[in-house]
Subunit: 147 residues, 2 copies
């Protein structure tokens, strides 16, 4: 899926991503970069709302895992199990969310998924604003093989 | 602020709450109950998107703290510092988010806020769907006195 196709996929399947005006800057099986503007995601302080910050991070983390599973032709159900967010700086404009997969973690995840039909993987997404890391999300996902 | 006023306040100040079609079922300085329908919050599995689940919980937790600070006439800046969400069950319809303030925690928070001009408080929001707890958010907020 190229960036435009992933943007369309997110907008069509997760309407909140459309409401947030999320778009995909880059996307492959190693990493995903999303962006969202401030206006539809603003809060009472005129900065980016915490719910939008965590959702943008979650979409980036989910997307890279989804693309990697797709690239490796692994039919699965992928769901979020836990998430944790540190809000480090106020975001006063557009934000980017960057999620990458760690190769070591991936190998363990694949082995467990093959063996047990179910495996967990944590994916980190960093939120950047004006070149600084403004938030960090860790999402723990569960994949279930579809045999 | 009565439930209708809080709904309007959220929709006007946090556009994501309007996109999610969040409405306030009850609201006072002790507890807040919000609800959101499935359709604008759906995901690729036809259940409620994790980003909507965490955002609904965050809005409930933030709202009860905001209303309590307002009821006690404490001029402040209230921001989210950390959040953690456990996703326990898939949500197949509308969800409710219930957040209440713990009296013991509140007294410590007030004392620290008066003394230092800054204090942290954790607020839990439970998400209910079809009568079961389907997710739980813990939000750690920081309030800064405006003197």
């Amino acid at each position: 899926m190229n960036p435009a196709a992933l943007t369309t996929f997110l907008h069509d399947n997760i309407p909140l991503s459309r409401a947030m005006d999320v778009s995909v800057l880059s996307a492959d099986a190693e990493g995903v970069v999303l962006t969202a503007p401030l206006d539809p995601n603003i809060n009472v302080h005129g900065t980016m709302f915490g719910g939008s910050v965590s959702t943008l991070g979650l979409l980036a983390a989910w997307s890279v895992l989804h693309l990697r599973l797709e690239a490796e032709h692994i039919a699965n159900q992928l769901v979020i199990h836990k998430s944790a967010v540190d809000y480090l700086l106020p975001i006063r404009g557009a934000a980017k969310a960057i999620a990458r997969l760690d190769d070591n973690g991936w190998e363990n995840f694949r082995t467990t998924l093959d063996r047990r039909g179910k495996a967990r993987l944590s994916v980190v997404a960093e939120l950047l604003s004006e070149g600084q890391v403004a938030a960090r999300l860790t999402g723990e996902f569960v994949a279930l093989l579809e045999r």
